[in-house]
């Protein structure tokens, strides 16, 4: 009985307007492909990128948003997931197993990050920035190549790609939500706010930080194996690609750091804008230019993100009660 009441509390907890919007949009995302004809279903592969970014941003938020550990090296997890996914597909494993194996590889890489926890925040950030650079030559050495291209036969169809992405994003979102409602989530937020105070209250800092980094690494690497399905090839230059480390942070900042719906909002807004700008200037690199201005603009004008800036605006409008 106790378990059932707990589940009920989780479900009732979803009553914030943005959370309800999220549930409704997930529902529409599930039924949307049913309205398309067989020909029209090709358009579905466009949405795969949305699911990938949602998972990646959500996984960054687990560590960066809740636990307050600024991981700037998530591209290492992402690219490692892509490589391990490709190796699994070479060996004839089905897609779902390749995703899981990639996830476990990411969790193992997360274990390698544990020694850096004793570093203070800024130093942790700069240390994680080096992680992709360290992993890249090791992967090239062990894999004995730099280019991992999978044959077309193991690539999912657009509709399969869409639904597997939806499942991945859905599991990530609800996983993050339930994790945050659990003891682990409260511990993480407490130590994100004040590590010393929470450790003096008996929170095992090392344990909870490790849980956060391992979970985040699992998700980010699974997202990498999913990315392999989108583009069909992984090159080890992906490790060094700062975009995959810093775009998730950008998305989390836009949507609201430390909330479970924030990364989803940020990822969708970012991908929509990116898609719109790219389609306005086909065959040109002006979109990069506009993207860079957008990042600088958001960083300077909305340094606390879209959602919290709106909240602040609303607070400013409501008059301060007179005592």
């Amino acid at each position: 009985m106790a378990d059932r009441s707990r589940v009920w509390r989780f479900a009732v907890g979803m009553r914030n307007p943005s959370q309800i919007t999220l549930l409704i949009s997930l529902f529409f995302a599930t039924v949307y492909p049913l309205t398309l004809s067989t020909e029209g279903s090709r358009v579905l592969s466009v949405y795969a990128v949305y699911f990938m970014w949602i998972s990646l941003a959500e996984s960054w938020n687990l560590v960066g948003g809740y636990a307050g550990l600024l991981n700037l090296g998530i591209s290492a997890f992402f690219a490692l997931g892509g490589v391990v996914g490709a190796l699994a597909l070479f060996d004839g494993f089905p897609f779902i197993i390749s995703l899981l194996l990639a996830g476990f590889a990411g969790a193992i890489l997360g274990v390698a990050l544990i020694p850096t926890f004793r570093l203070k925040s800024f130093y942790f950030a700069i240390a994680t920035l080096v992680v992709p650079l360290v992993v890249k030559p090791m992967v090239e050495f062990l894999g004995n190549r730099a280019d991992f291209t999978v044959p077309q036969t193991v690539i999912l169809t657009p509709i399969g790609l869409y639904y597997s992405g939806l499942v991945l994003a859905g599991i990530t979102i609800f996983g993050a939500y339930f994790l945050m409602q659990s003891r682990v989530g409260f511990a993480l937020r407490a130590l994100g706010d004040d590590e010393l105070a929470s450790s003096s209250l008996g929170i095992n800092v090392l344990l909870y930080k490790s849980i956060a980094v391992l979970t985040s690494g699992f998700i980010a690497s699974a997202a990498g194996a999913y990315y392999l399905q989108i583009i069909g090839t992984i090159n080890t230059t992906l490790f060094q690609n700062l975009n995959f480390s810093l775009f998730p942070i950008f998305m989390v900042i836009i949507g609201g750091i430390g909330t479970f719906e924030g990364p989803v909002l940020g990822a969708v807004v970012f991908s929509l804008i990116n898609y719109y700008v790219t389609s306005q200037f086909p065959g040109s690199t002006v979109d990069t230019f506009i993207l860079s201005l957008m990042i600088i603009g958001v960083a300077v004008l909305l340094p606390r993100g879209l959602v919290s800036s709106l909240h602040e605006l609303r607070k400013r409008r409501t008059p301060i009660p007179v005592k």
Binding site: L70, L72, L119, S121, F122, Y123, A125, I126, A127, L129, V130, L133, V134, K136, P137, M138, E140, F141, N144, R145, A146, T237, Q240, L242, L246, I249, F250, I253, I257, T285, T288, F289, L291, S292, L293, M294, I295, I296, G297, V298, A299, V300, P303, R304
Partner: protein
């Protein structure tokens, strides 16, 4: 191929010369990070911007006025000081109190912007494209083709210049930080900015000064980069930033002399590792960059022994 003494010493020398350039590139990043805790991921792009300016100088000015393009490294330094100052005042200053993420994202956006400009050209200046010689224009001047011969060893002239520049400029910077009022204000701000403010230091001016100095160092390094390497638009992210990070961490964040020593160390490790990678028997056909594998393995081992870096009691501690 057996490993001869001459080759080994030559690799050591090359590494030391290369290390001077690494130290020069990393010092500005280290200073900025030490003082204002802003992770300037655009530092590599700053260096490429300066290299871009030197290359344009050697295309446009040198053939007309017959000025040595090497002199442009000083104008680069001045230009980057201006760029750094305006970046600080227009972007970073407004958001540095909001936390770590917003300034990081601002410099990230800036690095994408600069990369875009370098690969598409700025106004009338042509884009960087080494396959058409534009990225390597400055390199084609006499400096990189000539080498100074000392006994059986060769010093590549452009690299030797970068080495001399690092050995001269960085100790001067260290003297400035430890002996002058403004330098001490920078160190005080990096240790505890609140206490520094209470002691009557204008921390905004100090932060501006450190950003300008750091960017000017990037300008100096960038000008030399145009003579030692073939410059691509993405070199900032792919080549420079990794080396800068490794050097800064090994040297101890904020420590200028530590950065200099770490620059030499990383240069030597990289050069000797690539020599070892070359001399491996050819039946071990690795499709991997063995030199960077060895470099990063040694990097991890050093960090395990000394997690604070070689000179961990620099101005950031």
């Amino acid at each position: 191929m057996a490993l001869g003494t001459v080759e080994f010493v030559q690799a050591l020398v090359n590494g030391l010369l290369q290390g001077g350039f690494f130290a020069l590139s990393a010092a500005g990043f280290s200073l900025i990070f030490g003082v204002q805790k802003v992770l300037n991921v655009a530092h590599g792009a700053f260096i490429v911007l300066a290299a871009f300016a030197t290359i344009q100088f050697s295309i446009l000015v040198t053939p007309v006025l017959h000025i040595d393009p090497l002199l442009s490294i000083f104008t680069d330094s001045l230009m980057l000081a201006l760029v750094g100052g305006s970046v600080y005042l227009l972007l970073i200053y407004r958001i540095e109190r909001t936390g770590f993420e917003a300034p990081l994202l601002a410099t990230f956006g800036l690095s994408i912007l600069l990369e875009y400009l370098a690969s598409n050209g700025i106004g009338p200046f042509p884009a960087l494209d080494p396959s058409h010689g534009i990225g390597a224009q400055a390199q084609h001047q006499s400096y990189s083709s000539t080498a100074i011969q000392i006994g059986p060893f060769f010093l590549q002239e452009a690299q030797a210049l970068a080495f001399v520049m690092a050995v001269v400029v960085l100790p001067i910077l260290q003297l400035f930080l430890s002996r002058t009022y403004r330098g001490r204000a920078i160190r005080a701000t990096s240790q505890d900015w609140e206490a520094a403010e209470f002691s009557g230091i204008n921390t905004k001016a100090v932060r501006l000064l450190s950003f300008i100095t750091g960017s000017a160092l990037a300008g100096l390094a960038g000008g030399l980069f145009a003579f030692t390497n073939s410059v691509t638009a993405t070199a900032g992210d792919e080549v420079l930033l990794p080396v800068i990070l490794v050097v800064v961490i090994l040297g101890g964040i904020g420590s200028i002399l530590g950065t200099l020593a770490a620059g030499f160390l990383v240069g030597v490790i990289m050069s000797v590792s690539s020599l070892i990678a070359l001399t491996l028997p050819s039946q071990f056909q690795f499709h991997a960059d063995l030199a960077s594998l060895l470099t990063f393995l040694i990097f991890i081992v050093i960090l395990m022994v000394r997690p604070r870096g070689l000179f961990g009691h620099g101005i950031a501690e």
